[in-house]
Symmetry: C2
């Protein structure tokens, strides 16, 4: 089924069919009806190869997120690059901007910059700020689709969110710790920041799953470490003094390095530790038997899927069905953590 076929069936020219399909003006009601009638019966999908070849236009998507030195950034980047390879044959490129100083001002500036450049879509880890929210809504209104990933702002006109199910992550962490510690022992939660919604959800999931355990585990405390190494170290020392170290520790955010070093110098029974994300630090601590598990949130997909969805929307008018796409919850131990950088999808390169 090609435009030509449809034109023939409808008794009009290719140009008219093109106008109807792309909702362009200058079509008489009569012609519009004729073409629509044919379109209903004949399932037409655009030939993307021809589309890419015919239109000399080039489009680009922007990916905006915070730059941190961890492997997270690298994996998101790989995901974005993988996506770019599958879409660049169709005239689409991807601009990735990782910001060191991740402030709302800087982010706003970038959004406005890309808007002026005529960006075809944006994937962003949004900062919770009124101006950002307003800008996202404005972009959507102007026809620039925005997808959030990793961190969401629900009350915006972003098309969808792609990232981890924090609640489930918390439950997963609790399940892992449950298996490691003995009955009637107590566990400690070191939270990155109570201010962060995602950490709160992790804690909620952790807590609720703990309550379901038959091992009668007690949550000794939930302490904020502000993702800091020194703070987590101090917290450990503090909480080991009183009745002895906890049997398990759940670290919801950063500071694994500091916690790990402190645990290393502990005498006697060492607590079991579950933390998040695959970073050089957490991988090293896994290998040193200091932490037991780390939970990944599939950063590759977080970089890949938003672009894929934006592309499908832009080029195939394929609207996004779900508002939230949860990425997989990946459990890593000393044994399987080495695999991560290994197979980053040998380049789709469909282009």
């Amino acid at each position: 089924m090609t435009l030509k076929d449809i034109a023939r069936c409808a008794g009009v020219s290719r140009g008219t069919v093109d106008r109807v399909i792309h909702h362009r003006p200058h079509v008489s009601n009569q012609a519009l009806c004729k073409v629509r009638r044919v379109l209903e019966h004949a399932e037409w999908t655009p030939n993307l190869a021809a589309k890419a070849l015919g239109s000399q236009n080039v489009y680009f998507f922007a990916v905006i997120f915070a730059h941190n030195s961890g492997a997270f950034t690298a994996d998101v980047l790989r995901g974005a690059r993988d996506a770019e390879k599958t879409i660049k044959a169709f005239g689409f490129s991807v601009q990735v901007e990782t910001i060191i100083a991740y402030t709302a001002e800087k982010q706003l500036e970038l959004l406005e910059f890309y808007e002026k450049q005529g960006v075809a879509g944006i994937a962003i880890v949004p900062i919770l700020d009124a101006r950002i929210i307003a800008k996202i809504n404005e972009l959507d209104a102007q026809g620039v689709p925005v997808i959030t990933f990793n961190s969401d702002i629900e009350n915006t006109r972003r098309l969808c969110f792609i990232g981890a199910d924090n609640y489930k992550e918390g439950r997963t962490a609790a399940g892992l710790l449950e298996g490691l510690v003995s009955a009637n022992s107590d566990v400690l939660v070191i939270a990155g920041s109570h201010a962060l919604y995602c950490h709160e959800k992790r804690i909620k999931g952790f807590f609720e799953r703990l309550g379901e355990s038959k091992k009668n585990l007690r949550l000794r405390a939930v302490i904020e470490n502000h993702d800091s190494d020194t703070e987590s170290s101090a917290i450990l020392h503090e909480y080991c003094k009183k009745p002895g170290p906890p049997a398990g520790i759940y670290l919801t955010g950063g500071g694994a390095q500091g916690l790990g070093e402190a645990v290393k110098h502990l005498c006697g029974e060492k607590p079991h530790i579950v933390c998040h994300d695959v970073t050089p630090e957490t991988v090293r601590l896994l290998c040193e038997n200091v932490i037991d598990f780390t939970i990944g949130q599939n950063p590759h997909d977080q970089g890949f899927l938003p672009l894929q969805l934006l592309f499908n929307l832009a080029v195939k008018d394929e609207h996004i069905q779900k508002e939230i796409f949860y990425t997989s919850i990946d459990i890593y131990t000393k044994e399987n953590c080495g695999d991560i950088p290994q197979i980053s999808m040998p380049e789709v390169d469909a282009l």
Copy 2:
């Protein structure tokens, strides 16, 4: 950079450039040199959109593997379908053939059938049989690339293998069990079949990792259950009588269902269990707290990557760099196993 540009630079016609690039005959040494000189400086990559559009040829890849009712087949299929979506814009389709009676004869028959049909490449879970080996080598010699997945035959001319690192899987299983059981306890291995190379490697990895443990764990026995539910049930009963049930059980193959049911009816302390693959049975047993972990081998990628590599080779002349691509080792618990079917890549659809 287009063929036209290169032709202009080299002072020849597009046709000649085409002949040089595709290593076709009827080119004078002089013209060949001129074109090659230009090609060295100008980095040319084919415009796949134009290539797909210009050539009316249609190609197809074949995927051949055993049909089992588990989720494995479904995930491989999804992977293959995802791959097909990214390549069908370029005139490539994918024929998937899952065989119920997976015999060498049947497989050979299929290979010959597809060969006659003019298949552009084959992804296969090969049966270890002299005729299959010979056929794979013959296909390669005739210019039909073959990639093995899930199960490999090393001494063949298959381009590469994509699948799990069984040894590392075994190590992962041992690491998981180590965390669950107490020191000085003993574990039991129920092996699918000693005849299967992959199970042997899993056992080797499991055993070696167990030896590295500081918990002084003993391997009580390695028993074959031929992937059978009834046998695994019988084995459990047998091994629970003597000095009491083992603290941990590693099931390398099938029969989780039977093992799980037997464990459920056990009185007193129940053994911890680690098994393989994500099937309706293992997921249910996870949720019922009967087994602790199951280890997945990323069947989606096993269906996806072979086709991606075949495509890149066929259409971009991009040769495969590695002989072995290990898929990720995915650890699932009750908490994160539900995610699996959820996000099967919202359709690349780059086509």
